[in-house]
């Protein structure tokens, strides 16, 4: 395995009486696409929020290229090269699509440069046609794609996608996966949370399974689908 770009050690996070993450450790190699799966409420979104600095972990360490991130504000972590998209979609609703994406580019570019970059990001994600629309007038799948374009516009090294493919149809999903593979080929490292098993199985060479805030399995898609603990986690929930 190549040098890890992202190193997560023993991250724990508690919300009142709920242990949302307990001692999560994960090492991600540069240029990997890792799938993060787990039942609803497993802690996937909480892990992403903690990694980008929206939550401060109760204990544990996060290192990006060897640099410690715990305690840094989200904008510092973005500057270091890690951003996430929001599962519930957190766009600037009264701004145009182009302005939404452009804002992501301001960290490293003046307005004009950010606007050019934003246009390229819109094109890559395939939503140039809606550049002038207000974010609040978009459909949910469109909004999710604007989220991705905005995150790309920050020129990250590590991108955390929280159910960015939700609500895409099959054609769009195939296009989107092609984009992710292309980004990976350009050197981006990706962690992808997805409920679509077909997509995640074909996209990722490695899956990490979270349940009740704990990593219960890691391995190739084939290994994971045979893992009794994983099957139990999913079946146990749906049976309950």
């Amino acid at each position: 395995m190549a040098e890890p770009v992202l190193d997560i050690t023993d991250i724990s996070k508690r919300f009142g009486g709920l242990q949302a993450l307990s001692k999560v450790s994960l090492s991600i190699a540069s240029g990997e696409i890792v799938g993060l799966i787990g039942p609803n409420g497993a802690g996937k979104t909480t892990l992403f929020s903690t990694l980008v600095g929206l939550h401060r972990p109760d204990s544990g360490a996060v290192r990006l290229d060897g640099r410690h991130l715990v305690g840094l504000k989200p904008h510092r972590i973005a500057a270091a090269g890690m951003v996430k998209t929001f599962q519930n979609v957190a766009l600037f609703l009264d701004s145009s699509v182009l302005d939404n994406v452009l804002t992501g580019g301001l960290m490293r570019h003046p307005v004009e440069g950010a606007r050019d970059l934003a246009r390229r990001c819109l094109e890559r994600v395939g939503i140039s046609a809606i550049a002038g629309k207000l974010a609040r007038d978009l459909s949910f799948p469109e909004r999710a794609r604007v989220e991705v374009a905005r995150a790309l516009c920050t020129e990250p090294r590590v991108l955390l996608l929280d159910e960015a493919m939700a609500a895409l149809n099959h054609v769009e999903m195939d296009e989107f996966m092609a984009l992710l593979r292309q980004l990976r080929a350009e050197g981006l490292t990706l962690i992808v949370v997805e409920h679509h098993m077909r997509a995640i199985m074909s996209l990722c060479e490695r899956l990490v399974v979270l349940n009740f805030g704990q990593v219960i399995a890691t391995g190739t898609p084939a290994e994971i689908s045979r893992d009794p603990a994983v099957v139990q986690a999913y079946l146990g929930r749906s049976a309950a």
Partner: protein, 328 residues
């Protein structure tokens, strides 16, 4: 001609009218003084608009910066004979420092909490100015010493030069507002307004951005405080540090006109300031306070009818007309 050049021509025409407008009024009359105040308050509301309009941090304490500007230049003029222009710079520095000071503890507050904290800050400044008589002259107020009328000393015999000065100030502050709106700072402020968490995650230093905007706004407001002092020649803590007389009025003007837009504070000021004077003249004979009541009711009516202010009425009419057409 395309719409942007039409707009530019209209803008210059409007500005030309504004420049020659004082010739239509009695130079020693009352009306031109009202125009001066309307221009000044438009500029103040525009300065307030930088923070409140772009980032939605609604301050009710801007009187603090206004009063600091008025007192700084006036005290420097009284004690050291310093030109109010230099006094204005000193006031801007102090106003900026005060904005920085109040920004630090209120940074994480939003909405009503931010409004209340800034309101308290303005009130603290008023109380200090009232009780520190040795410095400010206390509740009796303070007079700007007369100097030979001259631009260098920011004093004039007639009202017209003040009018042009206020007009220039309004144009300048509006230009600054527009420049900020289109700059990185403007985009970042809007991102904070619309989703602060998302803004942070994609690299916006929300704390720093808010502080920078607050300091710019505070500095400009302090400069306008100096203009006010030079125009009125006499003021007291309750006027320049007042909640109703300054803080709420600035907010009200921008909100009535259209918060976050460049034209909003201008429309708002030319509605609110003359209306207030008018109400004062009509009702002051009957009962003190009645004029304020009528004024307040009118403002409530405006806000109930169109909370986004006059600037939203145009688009709304357009939509209505479009619907009429579609129906008919």
């Amino acid at each position: 001609m395309n719409t942007s050049s039409t707009r530019l021509v209209a803008l210059f025409a409007l500005l030309a009218i504004a420049v020659v407008l004082p010739f239509a009024f009695d130079p020693r009359g009352y009306a031109i003084r009202i125009l001066c105040l309307a221009l000044l308050f438009a500029a103040m509301a525009q300065a307030w608009n930088i923070v409140a309009g772009l980032a939605n941090q609604v301050s009710l304490g801007h009187a603090a910066f206004f009063g600091i500007g008025a007192y700084t230049s006036t005290l420097l003029l009284i004690h050291f004979g310093l030109s109010p222009w230099l006094g204005m710079i000193a006031g801007a520095v102090l106003g900026g420092l005060a904005a920085l000071l109040i920004s630090l503890p209120t940074m994480r507050l939003r909405g009503h909490y931010f409004a209340l904290a800034t309101l308290a800050f303005g009130e603290v400044m008023r109380v200090i100015a009232n009780s520190w008589g040795g410095l400010t002259g206390g509740p009796v107020g303070i007079s700007v010493p007369f100097a030979p009328p001259d631009l260098a000393m920011l004093q004039f015999k007639e009202t017209r030069p003040y009018y042009w000065l206020m007009l220039a100030a309004l144009v300048l502050v509006t230009t600054i507002f527009l420049a900020i709106k289109r700059s990185r700072l403007g985009y970042r402020l809007r991102a904070i307004k619309e989703n602060a968490d998302a803004a942070e995650v994609i690299g916006v230093d929300t704390t720093r951005t808010k502080i920078v905007a607050a300091v710019i706004s505070g500095m400009i407001t302090a400069c306008l405080g100096t203009l006010y002092a030079q125009f009125q020649f006499f003021f007291d803590p309750d006027t320049v540090f007042g909640v109703a007389s300054v803080s709420v009025r600035m907010a009200m003007i921008a909100i009535v006109g259209g918060i976050g837009t460049a034209a909003g504070p201008i429309l708002g000021a030319f509605f609110v300031i003359p209306l207030e004077e008018f109400a004062n003249q009509i009702f002051s004979a009957q009962a003190a306070g009645l004029s304020q009541l009528v004024f307040g009711l009118l403002l409530i009516a405006v806000i109930l009818i169109e909370p986004r202010g006059f600037m939203a009425i145009g688009p709304r009419l357009k939509r209505l007309l479009a619907r009429e057409k579609a129906d008919g």
